[in-house]
Each structure stands twice: as structure tokens, then as C-alpha cells.
Symmetry: C2
Subunit: 348 residues, 2 copies
């Protein structure tokens, strides 16, 4: 690809992740949203065209049905891919697997989401840990929301020479807010059948060095996940040193119970008050006053907005694969500025 030109990005699938990726791509100086492909004929499709994004049908038949229903359609997925340098697949898991064959056949670079297996791309992406190894590759997998948060936080401890091993309990939101009418759980807790849960091993697909084990339980709320961690430090440390390590990550925000941020809904409200699209919390929101160091052990909790945390990662992954930016820190800073990550100044 030619430097200086904008990266033409196709987004395939306009769901919870796809709509946020499309907005984030449109907000980048060095990217151009080539268009969005989907199958829907309902209000969601009209949002795409209403934003001035080009809408494509996932198939030729679907594009025809869209046109017939009165939608302004620019063509099919094939047309979209023909005019793009890279495609971000945000379709449901079973659909994505089929799409990958199409991308390979077309020879277009692609990014899949964390629902896919590591083996689909052979590379798993979290900007702060694996940007460099993604440079110039044909494809990568932006890992799931929970795994992203694990890699961000444990990498911060690892880079500071503090991490020995980490054991975490994950409280998983039962469903996404906008899909809560399709079914969730009420007034109960549903443990994941297996210990360890998959997120620990998944974090090791990004960084095999991490000694991490996770357990998970589904809780009856839709806002976000919460993680509780017990970490064996590599050595005794002071709390300040730990906070400094977490602050060295550009995508961890320290928040405080004492500042009125006493629950995950309060943090979501803060995001809304900041005017962020969809009230997105892109950062890991980690409570600094709750955090406790006991000798060589560390205990803390944080919030993960499962709808938003992977969005900046996806933007960085686009730059890494296309080789538009060789420096991870530079890409992260550019993405953060565009999404106003860091505006919070909650670290004080």
C-alpha cells in the first residue's frame, strides 16, 4: 500500500461491534470507511445510510432485497471488498468462519473478532502486547473483550517486572443491552461449567508467558463485565509502584470509589456525560482506592465494557496489518486521541 493515502477499510457486519468499528474508522485521519456490509433490512440498515456510510448486501441476493425494500445499496460484499485494502469481520461466529475463505480467496487482509479461534489467523492481537508481530501480516484476530482486558492489565504488571502469576474471577454480563429483549438471565447466577474458563488460555494466545487462570460466572445484568484478580507478584511492592505500572498503560483508567464511581452503572453514566458515542468505555476502568497490596500479593477489580474495549484495538490492528504505522505506541496514541481515550484524567 502507498503511504500517504488513507487506508480503505471495509466493515462486514453491523452489529454491536461492527457499528462501533465503523464509527471509529470514520474518525481516523488515515482511514476511510469503504462501506458496511450486512444482511438486515430493518432500522439498522437505515442507520448506516443515514450516517452517510455506503451500505452493501452481504450477498448479491441480499443487496437486491435491500434495494427492493427501498434502501440505498452500493452493491454486494464482493463489490465492497474490491474497493477496500482491509476488511474487519464483525459478523456472528458461524458466519465469520465462512467469510474467512472469501477473504483469503480475494487476497484481502482481514481482521476477525475474539469469537474465532486463534488458529483461524495464527495471530492474536492486543495493541500493547502484539502490535509488532502483526506488522504486515495478512490477518489477525482481535481477542475478546475479557481477554483484551487481561492482556492489558497483566502486560502492564509484566513490563514493570512485577508479575509472577494471576488468578481471576470474571463476572460476565448476561447479554448485550440492545439484545436484552431476546433473552438473558434473571435473578440467578450461572457458573461456567469448566474451570479454568477459556479467557486465561486465550490471553496466552497473545502472550504465552502469562501465567494466568480464570473462572467465570454469568450475572443478571447487561452493562459490563467485572473482573476480580489475585496476583502473586514477582517481589514485594508498594501500592504506588503498582499504580504506576497500571498508569503506564495508555488504555487503563484508574477510577475511585471515593469519587462516587461506586458501581458499573455510575461509570457508564460518566461515559455518557462525557459525550462518548454509545457511552463507550474503551479503557479498563480499574478502581485504584479498592486495590490492595499485601506483601507480595496484589488484589484489584475492574470493569470491562464488552461492547467498546476492542474498538481501539481493532483500529490499531488495521494500522499494523496494512503497515501504515510501524510503531505501536504511535498508533495507540493516534487511536486514543481520535476516540478521546485519556480525556478522563481519572488517574489522579
Amino acid at each position: 500500500m502507498e503511504k500517504g493515502k488513507a487506508i480503505r477499510v471495509a466493515v462486514n457486519g453491523y452489529g454491536v461491534i461492527g457499528k462501533r468499528v465503523a464509527d471509529a474508522v470514520a474518525a481516523q485521519d488515515d482511514m476511510q470507511l469503504a462501506g458496511v456490509a450486512d444482511v438486515t433490512l430493518d432500522w439498522r440498515a437505515r442507520i448506516v445510510t443515514g450516517k452517510g456510510f455506503r451500505l452493501f448486501g452481504a450477498t448479491t441476493e441480499r443487496a437486491e432485497a435491500m434495494a427492493k425494500s427501498g434502501l440505498e445499496v452500493a452493491g454486494s460484499l464482493e463489490d465492497l471488498l474490491a474497493g477496500a485494502d482491509i476488511v474487519v469481520d464483525c459478523t456472528p461466529k458461524h458466519v465469520a468462519t465462512g467469510n474467512v475463505e472469501t477473504y483469503r480467496r480475494k487476497g484481502i487482509k482481514f481482521i476477525v473478532q475474539g469469537g474465532e479461534k486463534h488458529s483461524v489467523t495464527g495471530h492474536s492481537f492486543v495493541a500493547e502486547a502484539s502490535y509488532e508481530t502483526a506488522l504486515g501480516r495478512d490477518c489477525t484476530r482481535v481477542v475478546s473483550c475479557n481477554t483484551t482486558s487481561i492482556v492489558r492489565t497483566l502486560s502492564a504488571l509484566k513490563f514493570a517486572g512485577l508479575l509472577a502469576r494471576a488468578r481471576g474471577t470474571l463476572l460476565r454480563r448476561a447479554t448485550d443491552p440492545w439484545e436484552s429483549h431476546l433473552g438473558g438471565i434473571m435473578n440467578t447466577l450461572v457458573p461456567e461449567a469448566e474451570i479454568p474458563s477459556h479467557q486465561g488460555p486465550d490471553a496466552r494466545s497473545v502472550d504465552p508467558d502469562l501465567d494466568v487462570i480464570t473462572m467465570a460466572v454469568k450475572v443478571p445484568e447487561t452493562l459490563a463485565h467485572m473482573h476480580y484478580w489475585s496476583v502473586q507478584l514477582a517481589r514485594k511492592a508498594e501500592k504506588d509502584e503498582i499504580l504506576e505500572a497500571f498508569c503506564s498503560s495508555p488504555r487503563i483508567s484508574l477510577v475511585r470509589m471515593s469519587d462516587g464511581l461506586t458501581a458499573i452503572n455510575a461509570i457508564k453514566e460518566l461515559m455518557a456525560d462525557l459525550g462518548r458515542p454509545h457511552d463507550n468505555l474503551y479503557e479498563v476502568a480499574l478502581w485504584s482506592d479498592m486495590l490492595k497490596v499485601e506483601g507480595d500479593e496484589l488484589f484489584y477489580a475492574y470493569m470491562v465494557d464488552n461492547q467498546a474495549i476492542v474498538i481501539p484495538e481493532t483500529i490499531d490492528a488495521i494500522r499494523a496489518l496494512t503497515g501504515f504505522q510501524a510503531d505501536a505506541r504511535a498508533s495507540i496514541a493516534q487511536t486514543n486521541a481520535s476516540l478521546k481515550i485519556g480525556q478522563l484524567n481519572l488517574r489522579a
Copy 2:
């Protein structure tokens, strides 16, 4: 007290715990429910008399108001205490503190609940860990539901020589089912402000040897608490050895995800199907197939019915304080038989 005679037990406070203690006392061969004291004039008071229990007013004035409202009242708390060998205080926290002075003045043995501080009685009770030291004492404190579960499970590991240290995350039900109209939380998670949460230190009030640290978060459900534990074992062990250790506790029931008990509501439904009063789960329900041993580390999760778990402990505490039974195992077995604890045979 004279052996052979039934222990006359007064219950002060007919709320979530008091009503269950009263039923459990009435179910004991060696106990007699002297009566129940409360302040309520509503349907709850009629339940007391409807069961054939003697109802007392918490004060003389209250007793008069009860009589005036048409309730059959046997007198005031003073009258109740005069005809009892021991009183179980099940009143709200701020009320209990004042009651303790009354009990001491009257020279009656008493039991307070886990909401009180250890210092109120100088002794904290979990039958499997501290029955012997309660023998013949004037008073004890039956620790809270969460603490009871912690002491039961960690004691089982300790007795088997397996426990080095334990780190737990507690998901706390937001309110009791019958009080859910008075307010709870919806669609959010509310972390406890402090790490460690109080339950770890509280477990050490029963057994100072336990190396335990807890973190806690309130979840939007009313059924029960759930605990997730990471345990550093004293040595490498096989899963069978761990299960055997837990089975050695008469108040831990192993349950299985593969048996359809895949959520806490399913276990509550099992209790209802077994015909237990209030669907009480007196045991710690610990998932055996979810449990995982990794070298010298152990991971597991269990359910705690906060309304029921302390009931058998309270019955044993009555026997210990009154000296009616010097042998912890004998008291536990007697209590378990009366409440049908162990009928589940879920350990297979």
C-alpha cells in the same frame, strides 16, 4: 441445667433468620421452643401464633399493642426470658446490641448473629471448627452466612492437611427474596469499597490459623451468594483427595453441573422439590465437576443460601452453650438428621 429435660429456647426476632431458627428448634427432640418475641403486628405475627408458637412482645408496650390488635400474646420479652434457658437473638443489628445488655443482666445464655462483632461475645461459632471452645460458655456469635461457608470449606481442607492459603471472590445477593420490594439493585454490579472484604478476617475470628483473603461484589439477584476460590495447597494433590476432604464435612454437599444443577436457581428448585421448609439449603453446595486441581493449586465455586446456612449452626450452638451435648460430631449429626441435611446424596 438438668440433663434429660428439653432445653427451653427463646427466639428474639422473627425475621429471615428468626423464623427459620424457631422452626428448627421446634424440630429438635432435646429442645422446646419457649416462644418468639417480636415487634410486628402484621401477618408475620399471625404466622407465629398460627404455628402454635407462643408470641411475646419485645417490650411490655409492644405486648399490649399486640393484644389490642387481636393477637394472642403470652407476655413480653422479659416473661419469655424468665421461662427460657437460652435466647437466640435474631433482631436487626442495632437492636441486638441493646438486647445483649438485657441478657447479661438477666444472666441468661445467649447467641447473637454474624452481624454483631466478635467482641460482643468473645467467641465465634461454626460447629465444625469451634464447638468445643463454646462448651458451657455464656454466649457465642454464630458467624455470618459467608463466613460460615468459608470456615466449613477451608476447615475441611485444613483437617486433611491440604490448606496453605485461600483467596476468594464473593458474589453477594443484593437483598433477601422476601424483602426485595424494599429495594435492591438492578442491572448493575456494586463492588465492596474495601479489599480485603470483611469475611476473610471474620473467618479468622473462628479459626485464627486460616490464611484467607476475600473480595466481594454485590450482584442483582436475591437467591444466594456464590463464592469462587483459588487455593494454594500445602502440597500437590489429586482431585479425588480434595473431594474426599470436602466430603468429610457433614455440611458440604457436592453437586454437579452435569446433573442439571447449572445455576443457583436450579439448586433452590431442588430444595423445594425435596420439600424443605423455605426451600432451605443448609449445606454449602459445591460443584464437584467444576472443581479443578492444577498441581498444588485448587479452584472451585459454591453456593451459599444466606437465609439457611446458619440455622443448623445455631442449633448446635444452643447445645454447646447449654452443655447438653459435649461432642460436636454428635450434635451435628443430631441437627442434620432433624433438618434432613444429607438426604441429598449428591456426592456420588
